[in-house]
Symmetry: C2
DNA sequence: CGACATTACTTTCAAAAAGATAGTATCACT
DNA sequence: AGTGATACTATCTTTTTGAAAGTAATGTCG
């Protein structure tokens, strides 16, 4: 897909997808949230070809979701840490996971618990204003053309 | 990416991404939520090549997110409607959009209002159990290996 | 001191997927 | 009979992906 003019797209979904709309990027972000930081950790976890990992990490870094930090001077070695924007990806990961659990949940699955209560987290999207679950109230879309 | 054995993957995120982890599929689902149903509507809205649109619609239909319905017998014409699983994609779309609005929100953007109150929807992900925003409480991951 | 290991890549090339363009099939309408 | 709408398919070129091997800088062990 051509991503050049995705930034003129008035849809916020298309804007997000412009650079992270592929499986590897999302999986890298997932691993980063779990705590992986290094090239070889991502490579082994994902079974991804190093060429592609390099490209994805570069894009994710350029787009401000990851940042490189030197963790050793001799030899020079860098690791990839989540930025604030990258950390804000967590709700998306949870919603993607919630769908997968509901509709593709056969067999054994990883589970995510609230560390304090030990109860499995059940992620839902709500409107912070009304408190209602997304999808339970009618929505109106407003295009910016008329402004 | 190789999606063959993604179903043995214990990560629910990977399971979701196995078949909808590309930009076109998510954008098709977005358009379907807006109300588009026909091949040419999707094609014009997305500017997608017909070869690829065919493939994506087929996959989405096979995976149970869309279903075909005959809307004309002569000539035989089918349209694509969201299934329950497809409709359950909406929270994901809203979270993807929320991130884009926050971090790639320059210029004009489409907005989504609560149809009754007219107030812009602010989607957040929360744990239905604790009511806490996702990311504000520590999380514990449990792998299914020990079962 | 030299051989091997570690980490983070890059190079090369074959295979798969995407994308552009044109064409086809089935009708309705005039 | 000719034109148009709709939903594709066929063909071909370009781009991306993926596999495999190689490289560079340095640490470690005997």
């Amino acid at each position: 897909m051509n991503n050049e003019n995705r930034y003129e797209n008035p849809c916020p979904i298309a804007r997000s997808l412009a650079f992270m709309g592929d499986t590897w990027s999302i999986l890298i972000l997932r691993d980063a949230h779990i705590g992986l930081t290094r090239f070889d950790q991502f490579r082994k976890s994902l079974g991804i070809a190093p060429t592609i990992l390099t490209r994805r990490l570069t894009t994710l870094t350029e787009e401000g979701l990851l940042e490189k930090r030197l963790y050793s001077e001799h030899p020079p070695r860098e690791e990839y840490l989540l930025t604030a924007a990258g950390r804000d990806f967590l709700p998306m990961l949870f919603m993607i996971g919630a769908w997968g659990r509901k509709y593709r949940g056969e067999g054994k699955l990883v589970r995510f618990l609230d560390a304090e209560t030990g109860i499995e987290i059940q992620p839902i999207a709500v409107d912070e204003v009304t408190g209602a679950k997304i999808g339970t109230r009618p929505i109106r879309m407003v295009t910016p053309d008329g402004d």
